[in-house]
């Protein structure tokens, strides 16, 4: 190939790498925003059955705040803001829910209404799954989840806790035949 054509090809490569890195970088930044926040909350989970809930290589986490009292005007698909209050153990519990974003000084998490049954509604917060490697083992009873919350209530899982300490995840020893 002539050198002019080669230079053109290398220019194309540079353009593509820049564009793809911008897309990946932008995506990374977008999903990392809550992790840049200083607000953290420890959320209680409801009992998790590892046999039912482990699909593939992640567990489905059901939070205590997944089921909250329904509020007037809320419909399926609405964004909802759940204000939290810390208890004596440092776990963040449900305080009140609203369709309007609370003040920045409040501790709150943003969710989406999935269903409404009578006086209660089911809400998801986008943090209902935790991925881990194949062969991982850890205790899920009494588990709590530490999350970081962004200014608009978006949440990201930071770590899993048990009795206030990070959950110990053990992995199967890999051998040549495993």
């Amino acid at each position: 190939m002539e050198s002019k054509s080669k230079n053109k090809e290398y220019m194309k490569l540079a353009i593509i790498l820049v564009v793809l890195f911008l897309i990946l970088g932008g995506f990374l930044l977008y999903i990392s925003i809550p992790l840049l926040s200083t607000k953290t909350a420890v959320l209680a989970t409801q009992p998790v059955d590892p046999f039912d809930l482990i699909r593939g290589q992640y567990i489905v986490i059901r939070y205590e705040i997944a089921s909250i009292p329904s509020i007037e005007g809320a419909e399926v698909g609405n964004n909802i803001y759940v204000s939290l209050i810390e208890d004596v153990n440092g776990t963040s519990r449900y305080k009140i829910a609203s369709l309007d974003k609370p003040s920045k000084d409040d501790l709150f998490i943003k969710g989406q209404v999935k269903s409404i049954y009578g006086e209660s509604m089911q809400v998801e917060y986008g943090i209902e799954q935790y991925f881990f490697e194949r062969g991982a083992r850890f205790e899920t009873r009494g588990m709590e989840v530490k999350v970081k919350l962004s200014g608009n209530g978006g949440a990201r899982i930071v770590e899993l806790l048990q009795d206030g300490e990070p959950v110990k995840i053990t992995y199967e020893n890999k051998t040549l035949t495993s």
């Binding site: 090809e9 194309k12 593509i16 564009v19 995506f27 992640y58 998801e124 991925f131 490697e133």
Partner: protein, 390 residues
Amino acid sequence: MAGNEDIELKQHISFGAVVATIGSILIALGIAWLIALNWAGMPSALKVLILVSATAGAYTAGVLFRTHDYEKIGGSLLVLGALLYTLSIFLIAQTFNLATSLQANAFLLLLAWIGILFASYVFDSSSSLVIALAEFLVWISLQYFSFVELFRGDFSVGILAIIYLVVGVGLYGLTQIHKSRDHEFSEVYRYWTAFYVLLLTYILSFQSLLTMLWPKGFELTANVLFFLIIISLVAIVLAIVGIFMSVSKNKLTGKEVIGFVGLVFLYILLISLASLISGESVSRGSISGGLWVMWLFDNVLFIFVILSVIGYGTRYQSAKIVNLAIMFFGLDIITRYIGFVLDFGGQVGFAVMSIIGGIILIAGGWGIEKWRRRLIEKTKEKSSQNYSIY
């Protein structure tokens, strides 16, 4: 003699290159395996860096091979880069424990196919375009199903059929735009247009799905309507621009345009008429006359569309399109056979029909393969035949 030596030398060089390539792949596999073994203990930032580096490495290697006249190897590495880029997006999502909902996955695929589509145009890589279009198909299907999941809407096959019809129209427009500029991508878009048309007609050939096109009490949610309007507008603009460009360069006949527009309106009519049989029972003995007529018409249309696509592929000398049509023909035979057995056979009937069906399939398979090879030969032989199925 000198010529034979050259050929021999090239074969040795090629053999050497192949062996070296296999060796490189084994080394890369070994490194990848070691990384995989220690993946769990790696910090998230390192995992992301490895993925992004692998993507950049594949694209760089692809370009290097292309600039050194190894087009095919370079093209394959560009495809690898596209796949690694998609994998990077999904693994980044996994690293940050992003939601596994249909909408979340649809968003990830949207990022993936847009990036790969851009890369395919910059590199003029048809194989990368194929990857982008394959991911587009999965994205648009997932996006529809995510609407149903998000808003607890009724599942309407009719909306999915309309989406595929609209996409087919858009792809036809893209085919014409690229054909008018003699761009090699026209072949790819032509193939995918045929694919969507065949897929849509295949969906409409199922009796059980016809009654689900417009469920009773179905209401279109605002988000689905908005999505439909946007993709329809884009598709219509692409089709109009493409047809105009191709016709003005005498690369498209009026008959083909009329045939295409007529086919689109026929599909719209069929999809709309399905509302008359909405929610009807499909259990044996209680199928209405209207449903039977619609089902028979749709299946006759399917055969007609298959034959038309074969003619289309023959006209544009595309063996791939002919093969695609024959594949759908085979799929139609198998589907109808299974449906017939399930609907009309008892246990003995099933056994007899399985034997008869097996004999038919073996004979039919031999016949179809012979027919396919003849068509491919004919397609390759034709150079400037003015055959048009419209």
